[in-house]
């Protein structure tokens, strides 16, 4: 059950920031924290590493977000650490393996 602390850098005109923050907080797995200038604190809580990574990608792609950084990552109870590099290759690049 990964818990991740994030900092989102907001882009564009500050008047659009509240809307961007609302978009970020619309997902129930996201807790929005304080904002300082164009940076806002977030915490995400997911049930699996794959979900955590997918949520990260979705937040990063949110309209109005310029960059997303991780500041805290707890993986103490993540069971799905995959060890080896799979030998199987897919034809199409850069899609999810699963």
């Amino acid at each position: 059950m990964p818990v991740t602390g994030l900092v989102a850098h907001l882009r564009g005109d500050p008047s659009g920031w509240p809307e961007t923050i609302a978009r970020l907080g619309a997902d129930a797995r996201v807790t929005v924290g304080p904002r300082e200038g164009g940076r806002v604190a977030l915490v995400t809580e997911t049930t699996a590493a794959a979900e955590d990574a997918a949520l990260f990608a979705a937040l990063e792609a949110t309209e109005g977000v310029s960059q997303l950084f991780v500041v805290f990552h707890d993986f103490s109870d993540v069971p799905e650490i995959e060890g080896t590099v799979p030998r199987r290759l897919r034809g199409r690049p850069c899609s999810d393996e699963t």
Binding site: T4, G33, F72, S76, I81, T84
Partner: protein, 799 residues
């Protein structure tokens, strides 16, 4: 309160601290005690991955790393981490960690004991040390590099020691040496907070150094004006943030720099006072050119620049003349502060030394040097390419602290400091990386006089250029023996005769040195798995076995073991025995020994314990009258650099001309060694991606990173794909004169190469692009060019 609520509270506290950290970064506490939260003990360490050198707080619970936090006390990253740093803790826990020494028997690797393994390594070396090459890494720690250097240079009396940093930053070294007489950037990351203009010379920091990039993007978000300029051969994530994109042909960077210099001189917008006070001019000799070249005067410099008009530069580089003029106008404006950044694009270049010196030359000529924000700064890809390879001196021509083996005084000095007999250190330069592997891949009868290579902390089976010739041939040759110390199976371990399992990152003590001269220390926090052991111990254990075998080089002048170590009572500690290795802090002992080497080139480092307290310190670090230690942000600048004399303003005190002047070089434009033709009509460029670190041996084992970028691909322009009849995602054959591979095409992917260029990242061990790349290298730095060669693409089944 539930444990989970505590963790969420910590996550929010970290995020909240990080959003305000811009102003809150201060001095770290004097006594850094491990912090504890809900049974998790936190300690500092630099990130294991790139040369940015972010600090993390590593959370350990019951002997296992369970959480990672950006270190808000660290000036480098101010609490932030990129997607790789965020997962750095998981790098330890791939399920296929190497846990016992393995010896090849036929086609299999079978377990053996450490005693057997150390004996085999020592005997291979002992039979003829001159045929042994030690190949280490920019990921080796400073003490590991120092121990390797001592073993090879002060012990074996050979110079066949190299590091993989030869493949990533050797041209930056030669550029600094030729220009300033001493290696490494004068500026630091603070320049990113002050510059008005930031120029990327073949650099993609949005993916490769994302935390540094964020410093600039963050300034913009706060309303500051920063002009970003990307000079490159393909659009990248960095390009998206830039106001100007100068798309050049390969080697166009040489022409662009010459064109800007031409305009500065022709229009008189160069900084006359700065040049007259601080610069001299040089060019290569017509015959037998040397790195230092020969002196020319300003008139001769002006004359040589004459052909490089904006229009001529446009013809050479493909960059419109108007953009050359725009760059020259910026450099000619001294109200602006300009920082140049570069990394592999300028370094992995058969004229890498030339383009490095030309970029330095632009900054010197225009006086954009010596103020915060005015700096020519190279970045490194590995966490200790600077600290271990450049500063300790783990290359075939170097000795610790900026000394070189060809200088008798430097050798004598090193022999004195190492307390080894006079004449122990050889004056002949050893084999550089490409040459070492070339000789390893040739039969003895054809000049293959390297028969044993020990690889530590790197993966040449994936990263050597022209793999088929420079790595894979050796497997079929008699009497070649490859020893590999690593943490996971790789393309290199698969080819190895002997595999030694290594400890990784916080499984051992360590010291790294990042891109801005910052030396960073950490302590061991968890045990390595199985029988994995520290690389430094492996080196010392082999040295001791050599001593037992009768190798006299393993004794110092007093007849003691080369790595003789005593406890506080003066009793020898047998650190070659694993059970006794941590009886003393071997890292601290080696670091203090190394420290004595660092004053010679004014790269002074502080005592080890200062680094225990700090989140790294930038050298030179000099003791103050009150006993404190002060780091240096900007070298060669009065008031910042303690070695600049009062009243000098700027002083290049290691000038190659011994007159405090830096050298502004003229190098002519020269085309690449291999260019597209009718048979191979495309340019092939290789590089990295955000999610994976270098050859991917760690990050491909981290599931979220692998999911985000599961395999390598070939970026191609839509027009080329249409001409070849290739669909997005279709697997094609990419070929060069050296090899071929099958790989899927990605059109309009993350990077956008122009028509006529394809790009393939090298992180995927299943898709080895370095079977295709060129082994040609820069004549001075010996760094190969991975960024350009001629290739063709065809559909599978097509002739």
């Amino acid at each position: 309160m539930q444990r989970r609520d505590v963790i969420k509270g910590m996550a929010m506290a970290a995020a909240t601290a990080a959003i305000g950290a811009r102003d809150a970064v201060g001095q770290p506490p004097a006594r850094p005690a491990p912090r504890t939260a809900d049974g998790v003990a936190f300690q500092k360490a630099p990130c294991r991955f790139c040369g940015t050198g972010c600090h993390v707080q590593v959370g350990v619970e019951r002997g296992r790393v369970v959480s990672i936090q950006g270190d808000a006390m660290a000036e480098v990253n101010r609490g932030l981490l990129c997607v790789k740093g965020y997962h750095v803790g998981l790098a330890l826990y791939g399920t296929d960690r190497l846990t016992q020494p393995l010896l090849r028997r036929g086609d299999r690797h079978e377990p053996i004991s450490w005693d057997e393994a150390i004996d085999i390594v020592a005997r291979r070396i002992h039979r003829d040390p001159s045929r042994f090459g030690f190949y280490i890494s920019g990921q080796s720690t400073v003490p590991e590099g120092f121990a390797a250097s001592k073993l090879v240079k002060a012990g074996l009396g050979t110079n066949h020691l190299e590091a993989n940093a030869r493949l990533c930053m050797a041209s930056a070294v030669t550029g600094f040496l030729a220009t300033y007489g001493v290696d490494e950037p004068a500026g630091c990351y603070d320049d990113l907070d002050q510059c008005d203009v930031l120029i990327f010379w073949g650099n993609n920091p949005a993916e490769m150094h994302p935390i540094l990039f964020s410093r600039v993007i963050d300034r913009r978000a706060r309303g500051e004006q920063v002009v970003l300029i990307d000079i490159g051969t393909r659009r990248t994530r960095s390009t998206e943030h830039c106001q100007h994109y100068l798309e050049m042909r390969p080697h166009g960077d040489l022409a662009i720099a010459l064109g800007v210099a031409h305009l500065l001189v022709r229009e008189g917008t160069y900084h006359r006072e700065f040049v007259e006070a601080h610069c001299a001019f040089r060019a290569l000799q017509a015959e037998n050119p040397t790195l230092q070249g020969e002196a020319i005067d300003f008139e001769e410099y002006r004359r040589r620049l004459e052909p490089y008009t904006p229009e001529h530069v446009e013809a050479l580089s493909g960059v419109p003349a108007a953009q050359i003029r725009m760059l020259a106008e910026l450099f000619g404006n001294r109200d602006l502060r300009i920082t140049s950044l570069w990394c592999m694009g300028a370094n992995q270049h058969t004229r890498g030394t030339a383009v490095n010196t030309l970029i330095h030359g632009l900054h010197l000529l225009s006086g954009h040097f010596g103020r915060a924000g005015d700096a020519p700064t190279s970045l490194t890809g590995q966490p200790s390419a600077c600290g271990t390879v450049r500063e300790v001196g783990t290359l075939c021509h170097t000795l610790p602290g900026g000394r070189v083996v060809t200088n008798p005084a430097h050798r004598a000095d090193a022999e004195q400091l190492w307390n080894v007999p006079e004449g122990r250190i050889r004056g002949e330069i050893g084999y550089h990386t490409v040459e070492m592997f070339r000789r390893f891949n040739l039969p003895r009868s054809e000049g293959g006089d390297i028969d044993t290579i020990w690889v530590q902390v790197t993966n040449p089976g994936q990263t050597m250029p022209n793999q088929n010739e420079y790595f894979r041939r050796a497997r079929a040759l008699e009497d070649k023996f490859l020893i590999v110390s690593d943490v996971y199976p790789t393309e290199t371990t698969r080819a190895a005769d002997l595999i030694l399992p290594s400890a990784l990152w916080v499984e051992k003590n360590g010291v790294y040195g990042n891109s801005e001269r910052r030396t960073q220390q950490w302590f061991k926090m968890v045990d390595p798995p199985g029988e994995a052991r520290d690389d430094c111990w492996q080196t010392i254990a082999v040295a001791h076995r050599l001593l037992e075998l009768g190798h006299e080089g393993m004794r110092d002048r007093d007849g003691r073991f080369l790595f003789h170590t005593e406890d506080a009572q003066g009793r020898e500690v047998p650190i070659w025995q694993w059970s006794r290795y941590y009886d003393v802090n071997v890292d601290e002992r080696l670091f203090e020994e190394y420290r004595a080497f660092t004053r010679f080139k004014h790269k002074d480092i502080a005592p080890y314990q200062e680094y225990v307290r700090a989140r790294g310190l930038r050298w030179p670090v000099v003791e103050q009258p009150d006993g404190s230690w002060r780091e240096t942000r900007f070298r060669f600048v009065e008031g910042e650099d303690p070695y600049v004399e009062a009243g000098k303003g700027v002083q290049f005190y290691h000038s190659t001309t011994s007159d405090d002047r830096a050298q502004v070089f003229f190098h002519p434009y020269e085309p690449p060694p291999e260019v597209p033709d009718a048979e191979y009509p495309l340019w092939l460029c290789t590089g990295r991606v955000l999610e994976h670190w270098h050859s991917g041996s760690m990050t491909m084992r981290i599931a979220p990173l692998r999911r985000a970028m599961p395999q390598a691909y070939c970026e191609m322009h839509r027009a080329d794909a249409a001409r070849l009849g290739v669909a997005n995602g279709e697997t094609v054959i990419v070929e060069t004169r050296r090899g071929q591979m099958e790989i899927p095409i990605w059109i309009d992917g993350r990077g956008r190469p122009p028509e006529g260029t394809v790009f393939i990242p090298f992180f995927d061990e299943r898709l080895l692009v370095n079977a295709l790349t060129l082994h040609e290298y820069d004549p001075f730095s010996k760094q190969p060019d991975y960024k350009k060669c001629a290739a063709r693409v065809r559909r599978r089944g097509a002739a």
